[in-house]
Symmetry: C2
Subunit: 357 residues, 2 copies
């Protein structure tokens, strides 16, 4: 049976935790959840080609709207008829709204200002002034032609006071409404998916308020917005979202985090942790973390992980990888990135296998 | 018929130039000449795994004794029973003697001193003092367990005065004698090849003198030592070497250089040109050089070279590669490296095909 694009179905549940196994239907095939999407910030996953992504077994990737919009710029993507043809990737691509990057500029670098109808900011490359509105965030993502889009939200710090927190929720709700209207009215949205983002920082009541307002507008899935400081808030928020909708944990994801959040019922993850840590020589293995720059690996002829089937582990010794990191050789960072992503792919597969009731 | 290791046979000649097609028998198979070996300085070809080298179709690589001896150090290579098992490469590896690097330290950085029996120097990493002798250069290379070894020579600048030039020749001859004696006496040399290096800078008479002294000792092949400034000297030197011996042009190799030197009868080349230029965004194509950072490629959807079958050209647009270079993404440098090496492999194949009489 052909399922409509955006359909999310839960196909199995865990009998000990709230973990569930699901399927998200996109125009580029089914995403089996729980799923992990690595971050291809500038329309590239550092060190890897899309053939590499294929070989690693990734189901999807995330691309950052803010970054791609600056470099190479929307005109270049248009010339290629969309981001998939630009970076030659035929699996689903999720784009964020750019909101988080813009708000980082506003809060941390004081390079912008939030208004009721959008955010004014200067980008970190050219210093050019931009005005990002919820309409524009949707339009850019539709032009990128990604498969899963996110609304422009207005996050606050986890420790924000109640007033700021409430303003964040009211902006996010108002902008989510505009985002959905813009999305629905645009012909290009027919084969795409749009998700909302729940605010509320670490206040459960406000999480509930934010969710209910968004659910009023209606989305097929929801992102957890903000740095998840308190597990009980993260879990509480998952519980708010009905079983039939996808729960997306944005930007968090050590292996332990992912396992924990899967057990709470989250379905989708993106994070720079496996790739960034790989580039710094921190590898995830079946026996725990390995810091390959450690002197004890200088003469170690064993593979990084005997249980791993990636190019690194089936070819080279720990000693060789140690050497590559010592001489700051990009091949080292590449092989470590391949390894960590393969580790994540297998970890997600393993989790899906275990959710079987 | 099984040929002894080190055998070099000329199998065809060009009817317009002095170019010849040959076969060099090594313990790791036959190298078809004219052949090109890229430089894997620190036991790694920047950005590439040995699977990549395989896929590109390279016949062999060069590794720098000086660099590998410092990092990772000989003990690590010993632990792996040789360089092949360290970097997981099963095709022939040529090692230089380390002489050129050491003399660069002596001349340019004043970090060493040449004595009659070797060179004293401090390395550029730890500043530790070393004393490299011809014996030691052979011993290190035998420990690395490379397939083709080079004697420790004593180069001079192309503009050296006659006295310095003569001293360079006398040292090179004396050290070549010691090198060959050391090599022959060592059990580990049985399945390996040792080549001499002709000095003489840009003085033809001294090139002749250097060659004749080395030929007296007897090597199966000769490197052309020193920066080749004058074509007539380069050609004259090739003519000195008998037809039956391999002629190795060390460290030179734009595509035009290689074509020119092949026409003079050189058989083997190594050079950082294709890989270093790739990392700086200079690509070799069937239609000439391409500087991918040029703004005109920003929207260009064509492949870098329509006639090329490499990962870059069969996957991505010039626009995408331009973007990767603009954001200083290592994948860009990797894809360009793959492309340039593939270009060289095909160029050498093409030349071999054309030498057919």
């Amino acid at each position: 049976m052909e399922m409509p694009i955006g359909t999310f179905e839960v196909v199995a549940k865990d009998n000990k935790t709230k973990a569930r196994r699901g399927r998200l239907y996109t125009r580029r095939g089914i995403i089996e959840t729980p799923a992990f999407a690595p971050d291809a910030t500038y329309a590239v996953l550092k060190h890897l080609s899309t053939h590499d992504l294929e070989k690693i077994g990734l189901q999807m990737i995330l691309t950052n709207t803010y970054h791609v919009n600056i470099r190479p710029g929307l005109e270049v993507i248009k010339e290629h008829n969309g981001i998939h043809n630009f970076l030659k990737y035929d699996k689903p691509i999720l784009t964020d709204s750019g909101g988080w990057q813009v708000f980082s500029l506003v809060y941390e670098s004081k390079m912008g200002k939030v208004l009721d109808n959008g955010v004014k900011f200067r980008d970190h490359i050219s210093g050019d002034e931009h005005f990002l509105t919820p309409q524009k965030a949707i339009d850019i993502q539709l032009t990128l032609d990604s498969d899963i889009l996110m609304v422009l939200d207005y996050p606050v710090s986890p420790n924000a006071n109640k007033k700021d927190n409430l303003y964040s929720i009211s902006r996010t709700t108002a902008w989510a409404k505009i985002s959905k209207d813009t999305f629905v009215k645009d012909e290009r949205s027919r084969d795409k998916i749009l998700y909302g983002i729940i605010q509320g920082a670490n206040d459960k009541d406000l999480r509930k308020k934010s969710f209910e307002e968004l659910e009023q507008i209606g989305f097929g899935g929801y992102g957890f917005g903000g740095v998840p400081l308190y597990d009980d808030v993260v879990e509480y928020t998952a519980d708010l979202i009905p079983d039939s909708k996808l729960r997306y944990m944005m930007g968090s994801g050590t292996p332990d985090d992912i396992k924990k959040y899967v057990a709470m019922g989250y379905d989708l993850f993106d994070c720079v942790v496996p790739t960034r840590n790989a580039r710094h020589g921190l590898l995830y293995t079946s026996e725990g973390e390995m810091r390959i720059t450690n002197a004890k690996f200088k003469f170690d002829k064993k593979p990084v992980d005997e249980k791993c089937d990636c190019e690194l582990c089936t070819t080279y010794s720990r000693s060789y990888l140690h050497h590559l990191f010592k001489i700051k050789e990009p091949l080292g960072r590449r092989l470590a990135t391949i390894h960590n992503l393969r580790f994540y792919v297998k970890m997600m597969e393993e989790m899906r296998k275990l959710i079987n009731h």
